[in-house]
Symmetry: C2
């Protein structure tokens, strides 16, 4: 297996720190220390702390999008796609907790430019969900819902998951996803 | 009308700053400045910055609880109670945005003791929702659901509201609450 590059070790260290301490409370020195480089030499790899944040959000957004794309493009029924999408979304949160926490929660940390980038990344991902809902509605499998509001409702419900999920808890991720998909499909029917 | 006390002005200033900049990035000097007191004299009113945070969470939790209590205790049907509860919860978020943002989002900021207090406050409030769900289930109005998971799903969906709600947007709070209540009641039926 290839050794992770120094850059990717730094991004990983930053994701872990931002997700536990928060972006603003994490110093460049903290990141350097956890990644095992000198503070000074960190700047050979990154420009600013915010660049790291945007890099994390970009990679997290990619991971969510890559999990959803094959589902959205598949030939399955709208119901099967929605169930698979719920599993995929919670799966990404569970397996990339630190990254998705930063992606979902770090809203206050951005400058104007950063915020625009992040908003664009989120919007692209949310487009998949809109597509799933529209398709179900066009095929008369989902009822006549307000797509925008339903998307917000579903994604908010799913995104709360990273706050309470306990890998040692009573239910496994796929069991929670099944319950959640049942509720959502009943709501959409 | 009574003038607000200096202490309550300080708490209000802190709520506004914590909800926009975040707890960790807000300094005692920022709070003093916004409340119009000298940094030094702030400590005549508070012990630590975390005390302010806990005070905000406590007041926000009280506001949510006071909105729900009469609904839970009323003689209405489980369906009517659930609809009223959705309206009440979103109403508190919309009218006390800064306070509820701190209550809902500031998880990383607490010390161990603070975290325990906040967890207790949230648990007390969530108990109302569990009661509503249990009652509906006992009266066979709601289906045979996993109460714990359903509570998490509903509250996550509702709590996402404070992140995207725009008072100048296409829908008013009570319209959004009606849509949300429709979705939730369909899901529970």
């Amino acid at each position: 297996m290839a050794r992770p590059s120094k850059k990717s070790e730094i991004v990983q260290a930053a994701a872990e720190l931002f997700s536990t301490k928060g972006f603003k409370a994490t110093t460049v020195r903290d990141i350097a220390e956890r990644a095992g480089v000198l503070s000074g030499s960190l700047y050979a790899h990154i420009d600013t702390k915010e660049d790291l944040l945007i890099e994390i959000v970009r990679q997290a957004a990619n991971e969510f999008a890559q999990a959803l794309a094959p589902i959205v493009q598949s030939q399955e029924s709208p119901t099967a796609k929605m169930r698979a999408a719920v599993h995929a979304h919670l799966g990404v949160i569970a397996s990339s907790r630190a990254w998705s926490t930063v992606y979902l929660d770090e809203d206050m940390a951005f400058s104007e430019t950063g915020r625009a980038t992040v908003r664009q990344l989120r919007r692209t991902y949310e487009q998949y969900w809109i597509q799933l809902l529209e398709e179900g509605q066009q095929q008369h499998v989902f009822s006549d819902i307000d797509i925008g509001l339903t998307k917000l409702f579903i994604l908010s419900a799913l995104n709360g998951f990273h706050r309470w999920y306990d890998p040692k808890g009573r239910l496994m991720v796929h069991e929670i996803a099944d319950h959640y998909a049942d509720m959502i499909l009943k709501m959409l029917a």
